[in-house]
């Protein structure tokens, strides 16, 4: 990657809870190149969505401590950018779509109004032009009969169509980066396939970079080129997608991949990961996965592991595994 479009450096986000401050995202770094599709995968509480929301500074100020670290975009640090400039970037250069297309749309405004809103805000176009552009955008996201649909209200649309409208709003200003947070999780399987096809086509046609956040390894395999696995607020592994599936380095990635129910083979019993996802308010010393890790060593419970290089374009937060891999390569 020559010059990344977006670079997150050492981002830490903390929230205030009844039980005190909790660290939702712990020193996360990532980079997205131009036109690249980065996948972030993790379970509940892994910090994947919080990382994404931080990029656009969408956290409620009252319960969030000022995030530390840097989020570099176009030579500027988004974390310290004045609010007015941030507004220009949000929805203009970096857009976001969410899991639930119903609650993301305003039920009392027509589709034309909602797509037009971002065009009017960011590009200052008038109502007539905005409506015309809205129809073009609905065409682009393959909503049939766009000229009629544009004047409808969200409740008239199915879940899949609503997500298409969300995508139309997101790409209205031709953003350079689209952040998609579980964009297909609420959709049926056949509709999910349609939306993934659409996102891939748009990414190619518009040359956008995409950060796709999901809990579904299948979606990652289909969509992403590079993947980042998160667990309990930390990055545990980054790798080109093919390599991660063929040979996961971190025991958590490995456990997750084997625990997925298999569609193409019969297994008598699924391998499981022991224990539960940790309570985010409880501090786990050493490696956060150590209480569940089948290969845990004494040092894992004591020392906080660093994210180590594990081959070209790969990193993993598991010193014993990385050391074992290095030995193999030498031998």
């Amino acid at each position: 990657m020559a010059v990344p479009l977006l670079e997150v450096d050492d981002l830490t986000v903390r929230f205030r809870t009844d039980a005190g401050w909790m660290t939702a995202v712990d020193r996360v770094s990532l980079a997205v190149g131009e036109g690249e599709a980065l996948g972030i995968v993790g379970e509940s509480g892994s910090g994947k969505s919080v990382t994404a929301l931080s990029i656009l500074r969408l956290h409620a100020a009252a319960t969030t401590r000022m995030p530390t670290g840097k989020i570099l975009y176009g030579g500027k640090d988004l974390l310290t950018l004045p609010t007015r400039e941030m507004r220009q970037i949000r929805g203009g250069e970096i857009a976001m779509i969410f899991q639930d297309p119903m609650s993301s749309l305003n039920p009392v405004l027509t589709i034309a109004d909602q797509i037009g809103e971002s065009l009017r805000l960011h590009q200052g176009v008038d109502h007539v032009t905005a409506r015309k552009r809205a129809i073009e955008l609905l065409d682009l996201v393959r909503i049939p009969d766009a000229a009629r649909r544009v004047d409808e209200y969200p409740h008239r649309l199915s879940g899949g169509m609503r997500q298409r409208v969300m995508i139309a709003i997101a790409i209205a200003c031709r953003p350079k980066l689209l952040i998609a947070d579980e964009p297909t999780t609420a959709l049926d399987v056949t509709i999910q396939a349609q939306i993934l096809d659409l996102l891939r086509d748009l990414q190619r046609e518009l040359g956008m970079s995409v950060i796709l956040i999901t809990h579904d390894m299948g979606v990652i395999a289909e969509f992403a080129r590079r993947v980042m696995v998160m667990y309990a607020g930390r990055v545990v592994e980054t790798a080109p997608v093919g390599q991660m599936f063929r040979r996961p380095v971190h025991p958590y990635t490995e456990g997750l991949l084997t625990a997925i129910p298999k569609l193409d083979v019969d297994v008598r019993r699924l391998p499981t990961i022991a224990g539960s996802i940790p309570d985010p308010t409880v501090v786990i010393p050493g490696c956060r996965y150590s209480p569940r890790c089948p290969q845990v060593q004494e040092s894992c419970r004591r020392d906080s592991p660093a994210l180590l290089p594990a081959g070209p374009e790969r990193e993993a937060r598991c010193p014993p595994r990385v050391a074992a891999m290095a030995k193999e390569t030498v031998a």
Partner: protein, 329 residues
């Protein structure tokens, strides 16, 4: 189909569903004309003792409605349901249901919404026991401990409250409650779809272990085809209220016949970056409010013929317990 099934007494179905229909009356908008929504449209299947019937389908396919009908939570519009030889539909349905009710249980999708937050875990689990009545204090407490152990939770959790537990643990509590009165048949409606992957496998394995130990039969409702493969013995695929295909698990996943089942299986993203999925199936699930004549899948079907738009295909046996509702066969 029945010819393909063995007829030994031990293998005779405990659940028999024939031509089941459920309609709901709905009004569209204020003062709009009343309409009839047919959520379940003439479906038939059997469940044999100790087996799991997986019921898959997308939103609005009628799978959850079928589950609720089967345990008598809602009355059927027409058709027949017999449970353990008692016909719970028709004129004497209520009395028949009362006879078998204690053999039926339900595990819900949402482990957060299905446990009363103000009740201790032990009381949540003992609720069916309290409703049934006639248990001594000690028997009740012993049973709760036993149930917690059965689902892999320490006895001490009986004194705690549901909010102290993770989703996976809460689902264990929900399962313990379902087992309280030693049911024979449990409807599991999307029991793992709200759980993280690392928790899903644990709960699926627990359900499999319980089936082996207690000889339970399940109706396992899910939209996730991989999850269903990991637990079901036979699978029924529903689309827009209709049964489109039914087969033993291995047959359904390796040689699906109905074009919808084929498309559904193809659409699931696999954790395999080398796999190339076919282009997504176009269109959307049709409204069941004003169904067109013919096959519900006709509008999206890549193999559609003229007859498909006129006649509804009836489910036809094609051998080895395989049933397909499609004019191609």
């Amino acid at each position: 189909m029945s010819a393909a099934l063995k007829t030994d007494a031990a293998d005779a179905p405990i659940i028999r569903v024939r031509d089941l229909v459920k309609e709901f009356n709905v009004t569209r908008g204020r003062g709009g004309p009343p309409a009839i929504l047919r959520a379940v449209n003439h479906i038939s299947f059997d469940i044999r003792p100790g087996t799991t019937l997986g019921l898959v389908g997308e939103s609005g396919s009628g799978k959850s409605t079928t589950g609720r009908l089967l345990v008598g939570l809602i009355p059927a519009t027409s058709g027949e349901i017999s449970l353990f030889g008692e016909t719970i539909t028709g004129a004497d349905g209520e009395a028949a249901l009362a006879k078998v009710r204690s053999k039926l249980q339900f595990v819900f999708q949402d482990p957060h919404g299905s446990l009363n937050p103000r009740m201790r875990v032990g009381d949540c689990i003992a609720e069916p026991i309290d409703i049934a009545g006639g248990w001594s204090r000690k028997d009740r407490a012993d049973r709760v401990s036993e149930l917690l152990e059965t689902v892999g939770l320490p006895r001490a959790v009986a004194e705690r409250f549901p909010h102290e537990f993770s989703g996976g643990q809460r689902q264990r509590i929900g399962i313990a409650r379902a087992l309280a009165l030693r049911p024979d048949f449990v409807v599991c409606d999307e029991p793992v779809s709200a759980l993280d992957v690392s928790m899903q496998a644990q709960i699926i394995n627990l359900l499999l272990d319980l089936q082996e130990r207690l000889g339970l039969s399940y109706l396992f409702i899910a939209h996730d085809l991989a999850v269903v493969r990991s637990i079901a013995t036979d699978v029924v695929v529903m689309y827009a209220g209709a049964l489109v295909e039914q087969a033993p698990k291995r047959v359904l996943y390796s040689a699906p016949k109905h074009p919808y089942t084929q498309a559904l299986l193809d659409a699931v993203p696999r954790p395999d970056p080398d796999r190339v999925r076919s282009a997504a199936l176009g269109g959307e699930v049709p409204s069941i409010l004003n169904p067109l004549p013919g096959c519900a899948f006709a509008a999206r079907c890549p193999h559609v013929m003229d007859v498909c738009r006129q006649d509804r295909p009836a489910p036809r046996p094609t051998g080895e317990g395989h049933v397909v509702a499609c004019h191609l066969y």
